[in-house]
């Protein structure tokens, strides 16, 4: 009879895989979604995936600095978000669209 009992603790690798999946999802979102906002959100997702990696490693290494890095990253992400939204806003003001594919007048 197979043993369905879960392991005592979730292995580190699971977290890493999870974060990798999240990162990939972020990439996929960036590539597949059409709305600039969503694309932007998927970047945030990628950053958070990285955060997860940091925390995981910091836990594994029994060192606190990993946690600190996440805060740094969050701060930076926040700043980026502010700027990003501002830029998206101006784009919307001028083109009154959030279709990412319509923003391609500069080419070749």
């Amino acid at each position: 009879m197979p043993d369905f009992s879960l392991p005592a603790a979730v292995p580190i690798s699971w977290y890493l895989i999870l974060s990798a999946v999240l990162f990939t999802l972020g990439i996929a979102g960036f590539l597949l979604r059409r709305s600039i906002i969503t694309v932007f959100m998927s970047i945030e997702l990628m950053l958070n995936a990285v955060n997860l990696t940091f925390v995981t490693f910091s836990y594994k290494l029994k060192a606190v600095d990993g946690h600190i890095f996440t805060f740094f990253v969050m701060v930076v992400a926040a700043a980026e978000a502010a700027v990003g939204l501002a830029i998206i806003l101006t784009v919307f003001r001028n083109r009154s669209t959030l279709e990412i594919d319509e923003v391609n007048s500069l080419k070749l």
Partner: protein, 488 residues
């Protein structure tokens, strides 16, 4: 990373440039809303003042080289060289920008503040001896530049440039960050020197995983220096952004990014070099080829210079690939020479482009030789330097790079690089041809005014520098050589 948290005076001194720049920037931000139209004229002066002070503090910092803030910041010749470079770039950018902003009718303190923030960020990158600091500096620099690229809010080209730069930039940054995370995880540290030690120690982690981490970080750096295969953004952004900002981007952020690329790969990841050597080799070659060939067909001069800047990134990559002290020296000299040349070129492009950048096609330069002989002559100097004709800085840049490459037995890369530089001559010559050998076009409604003081100064200064470095490169080279030796 343990240690006391009260920084010593020496440590503060080593961090002084960043402090100065940040204070100046903040001060400008605060001042901006309080000043009325007339008083805004004073803002660039303040910014310049801040930059000059920063410049001096950077030089003073060199008096006490060493680590700061428990090893997060390192001040050595390398740092100082690039700090001085980017700050100088900032000064020239301001000189180019003032008149431009005035004629575009949006003089604002924030522009200068952002410029200063961006430069501060670049200084942090340059001085960073620790991956997170490096990341923060890079982000600070980038975010500020994102905004500058879209500075003229109502200009569609600006919007698009900003958006592209922002989205793709942060996309690439995510990769970089992911790489940092893995490096941290695998080595248990983010301090470059320590990473190196770990990788050299018997306890070194699996080189496969570590090289993956290095690869992820390379993505981020390569994007910032617009090296293949991550160069796509550059032409669009350079074309869309305001001309002075394009000039700035082609000089400052690029130099800083190359600085960190050199530092990270030649210190931290040096032990696993046989992993990334081929990568850089191909990247360098691809960058040169893409840049030069794509430039052959360009009508828009900003876009043409964008492609050319890609190509030049390729040449620097060759020097990085050589990963030797003379390679580093060559890269440093080249970046300085290129920054000067390109700022001069963009200054004149800004001048010719006029209000709302209506004259940015190569053909708009027709007959410049008759209309403004001096402008044409100066631009010719810059173009010859970009071609790499002797007695210009550009020539020595190329010469040192290919010498370094041959010194590391990169024979084929050198030959291909040389042929590339010969090919490149074609599209630079086209501009000269248009300026001197074709009559001016009659279709221009508003005529070309004399150069503004700022642009005039920039152009003359950079031209002089280009020629002086072309005749006596030792001025910069010796210092670069000594700093390159200090690295590790």
């Amino acid at each position: 990373m343990s240690g006391n948290f009260e920084p010593t005076g020496a440590e503060l001194l080593r961090f002084l440039p960043e402090i100065v720049l940040t204070l100046a920037a903040t001060f400008l931000m605060v001042l901006e809303p309080l000043t009325d139209r007339g008083a805004k004229r004073a803002l660039p002066a303040i910014a310049l003042l801040g930059l000059v002070v920063a410049l001096f503090s950077a030089i003073m910092a060199q008096a006490q080289p060493g680590l700061a803030f428990s090893g997060m910041i390192v001040v050595d010749g390398f740092t100082t060289f690039f700090r001085v470079l980017v700050i100088a770039i900032g000064i020239l950018t301001i000189l180019i920008s003032t008149n431009y902003l005035r004629q575009e009718g949006s003089e604002g303190g924030e522009y200068y503040a952002l410029l200063l923030f961006s430069i501060a960020g670049q200084c942090i990158m340059i001085a960073a001896n620790e991956l997170i600091i490096l990341f923060i500096g890079l982000e600070a620099s980038s975010i500020a530049t994102y905004i500058m690229a879209g500075y003229l809010r109502d200009d569609k080209r600006n919007n698009e440039a900003a958006l592209k730069y922002f989205l793709l930039g942060s996309f690439a940054t995510a990769f970089l960050l992911y790489g940092i995370a893995w490096t941290y995880g695998l080595t248990g540290t983010t301090n470059l020197s320590r990473v190196r030690e770990v990788l050299l120690s018997p306890a070194s982690p699996d080189t496969f995983l570590i090289s993956i981490a290095a690869g992820l970080m390379f993505v981020g750096f390569a994007f910032k220096v617009s090296a293949a295969p991550f160069q796509m953004w550059a032409p669009d952004v350079y074309q869309g952004a305001p001309a002075p900002v394009s000039g700035f981007m082609s000089a400052g952020p690029k130099a800083a990014a190359f600085a960190v690329l050199l530092r990270v790969f030649l210190t931290a990841f040096e032990p696993v070099k046989e992993r990334w050597e081929p990568l850089l080799w191909w990247s360098a070659l691809a960058t040169m080829i893409i840049g030069n060939f794509a430039a052959l067909r360009q009508g828009n001069i900003k876009r043409l210079l964008a492609y050319s800047s890609i190509a030049h990134a390729g040449y620097v990559m060759v020097a990085v690939t050589a990963h030797s002290e003379i390679g580093t020296t060559a890269a440093m000299f080249y970046l300085a020479a290129y920054a000067l040349t390109n700022l001069g070129a963009f200054a004149l492009v800004t001048h010719v482009a006029r209000h709302n950048e209506r004259y940015v096609e190569v053909n708009d330069f027709a007959g410049l030789g008759q209309r403004q002989p001096v402008t044409a002559a100066l631009l010719t100097v810059f173009l010859l330097s970009l071609i790499g004709v002797p007695l210009t800085a550009g020539f020595f840049g190329k010469f040192y790079i290919f010498r370094a490459a041959l010194d590391s037995n990169l024979v084929w890369l050198t030959i291909l690089g040389l042929l590339n530089s010969a090919l490149a001559a074609y599209y630079y010559l086209r501009i000269i041809v248009v300026m001197y050998m074709q009559p001016p076009s009659e279709t221009e409604e508003d005529d070309l005014l004399p150069m503004s003081a700022g642009i005039q100064f920039t152009a003359w200064f950079t031209a002089a520098a280009v020629i002086v470095l072309g005749v006596y490169p030792s001025l910069v080279l010796d210092f670069a050589g000594r700093s390159a030796a200090l690295l590790r």
